[in-house]
């Protein structure tokens, strides 16, 4: 997702770490877990990534910038499938008799590996998100300069599209800074093809040229406590009349974390039921309702 700024940028980090100035309720709940963490280890080295990029299918048309989003993981009989975006550009090319690539940075890259080696030894499937067959599903698709993701939801048995994959993608509009939206894509062949289902979340601050960069991330679909809804968490930027994430008083108008939801069964019916496949409206949680 960081296609414009190398080294991820202090500005970007700053936007993620800013304190929110919007609603604030007392946090009465206490954690059950007091987490302890180990020191980091390398599970995919630069050399491994370079080697994997050389094997990627379809062949790369740019560098292999993997993983460029949070990862999604599915356990298989032999190990794990990992899903993450490759931040390189994916130019349209003829490959094995059909067109691949979408002239955008980002992708859904599937690798088969282990928890100690997510890249594995096979060929990464580096797949661009295809436009929906009905252009009305996402009229903004042509404008994205980046489109990719990793967090995957595998539809469980008994639901429409059982076994298929639903993924959150991170899409970026053209700008001199980062303006991103979240959308959904679907795969009915275990990640060999991904089809756009349309946008589901935008920042409260509308797109405009000259905005501060702001990262919306690429969160996963999470089932609500009652199992009826998909929750999707993201940092929001509340419009403040300026092009900046801080208002005229210098106070941030970004949230630490916001959440939107949609009925899970309806999302899957729309995604995998009769065509044209599409997403459904997500609603942001606002003022207790």
């Amino acid at each position: 997702m960081f296609i414009r700024s190398q080294l991820v940028s202090c500005a970007l980090l700053a936007s993620l770490f800013l304190l929110a100035a919007v609603v604030s309720s007392a946090q009465a709940i206490t954690p059950l877990c007091q987490p302890a963490v180990t020191s980091p280890i390398v599970v995919a080295s630069p050399a491994q990534r370079l080697a994997a990029g050389a094997k990627a299918q379809p062949p790369l048309t740019d560098t292999f910038d993997w993983p460029d989003t949070p990862l999604g993981i599915i356990k298989t009989a032999d190990g794990y499938e990992f899903f993450g975006s490759d931040g390189g550009a994916h130019y349209r090319q003829m490959w094995q008799g059909h067109w691949v690539g979408n002239n955008k940075s980002g992708s859904f890259t599937t690798t088969v590996g282990t928890l100690d080696n997510p890249l594995g030894t096979g060929e990464p499937e580096d797949v661009s998100v295809s436009a929906n067959s009905d252009p009305a599903v996402n009229p903004i698709y042509p404008s994205y300069g980046y489109m990719g993701g990793g967090p995957v939801y595998q539809v469980p048995e008994g639901m429409t599209g059982a076994g298929n994959l639903l993924a959150t993608y991170h899409a970026e509009l053209p700008n001199d800074a980062l303006y991103a939206a979240l959308g959904l894509a679907a795969s009915a062949d275990n990640g060999l093809h991904w089809t756009d289902l349309g946008e589901i979340i935008r920042l409260n601050q509308a797109y405009a040229v000259g905005l501060d960069g702001f990262e919306i991330g690429d969160g996963p679909l999470v089932l609500s406590p009652n199992g009826k809804y998909f929750y999707l968490y993201f940092p929001d930027w509340i419009a403040n009349g300026l092009l900046h994430t801080t208002n005229a008083q210098g106070v941030s108008t970004t949230t630490n974390v916001s959440v939107a939801r949609a009925l899970a069964a309806d999302v899957m019916n729309a995604a995998f039921g009769p065509p044209p496949h599409h997403s459904i409206p997500f609603q942001k949680f606002y003022k207790g309702g």
Binding site: D134, P139, Y141, Y207, A239, P274, P276, I280
Partner: protein
Amino acid sequence: MSFRAPFASLALLAGFLQLSSGISPAQALTPLCNPTVTSPIIVDSHEQIVEGGLRAQPPLTNTGGFGFGWPDTQMSAIKIPGGYEFFASEAALHPRYMWDGHWVGNNKHGSVVTTVGTLDNPLGTGDPQDVSISPNPDPGVDPNYPSYGYMGGGSIYQVPAGMTGAGNLVVTYHAELPNYALLGLAESKDNGLHWTDLGEVIRLNQAYMPGLNFAEIGDGRLVLSPDGKYFYLYFPDLPATTNTTTHVSVARALAASLLDAAFGSAHPHAIPFEKFYQSNWHLQPAIGGASTDLSPNWAPQEGGYVDVHFNSTLQRYVMIMDNDTTFYYTESVDGLTWTSPIALGTYADGVKTLVPYASSIGLGDDPSILGKSFYIYYTYLHEENGGLPREGNSLRRITLTCP
């Protein structure tokens, strides 16, 4: 729709009269028509409206003090053998109750009222069908439905032959959250006897929040684009954190895809509209996105309710704007660049009287298409909320002619 603010509101007018701040292309286009208008006539008097309410089906119950508040949005018409069907919202509360063996009402203000009449008497002598918009069977289509306090409309598109849902109706509805209006679509497959919500299509750039001053979004109609591929829907937008609406903004969606989604799917729904922004249709979603003011250089008062139709004589689009007191006329070839507005007349004082919801109706076989002469209907309100149920209201009409 203006039932919240006494005297429909200086606040409302203020919303319409403020200067806008969008981009500004030079206005080189000149009008082909130099319109003349007749003096207003009353086509449905207050007494006729009251009597129409007594005949309404389902019967009115507790109207919330509004009586039969018709018409409360822009209206439209379809020609039928022997006359016309007219469609408009009705401002009364529509409590849910059992009628004729089934549940009616949705506990909201507003509706889609169908009347059968003539151009000289849209209410006619029959029973107005005063139908509340039902929720979509799939609550995922419009999760906000339960929150609307108002939901009604009158701007109808009848699906033409050869398209999915031919003969069926799509209405643009005006829905309200507290002090906040938005636009959605509903469909009817039985000529207006039942209406089903298809979901929201346009929200202001300013998001809903408590404490906002009410900004009117109107109840515009679906208009086919010059190439016939898209539905255009015009509205005044409110940029976030401002009190300044655009004079007119526009959003669009593919017409065939919309009709497929509304009538060709087991799960009827609307599709995403996109706001026109910085000469681009592919950047801003119509739900909350930013929009460009198509005519940023117009005078502050030249805006309000916007009613756009194609005029077959001029081979141009014609827009009538209504700022609650004064009507304006403007033309466009492409639906995006408009001629400078021409004032048609002032029909209310804006304090004790208001004239919202100007709606053009053509005199040919398709009333949605205008010609050399056409009618402009509007609601005349007298001291709203000072004298509910709308004492002195009437439906009035002027005739516009291009000499």
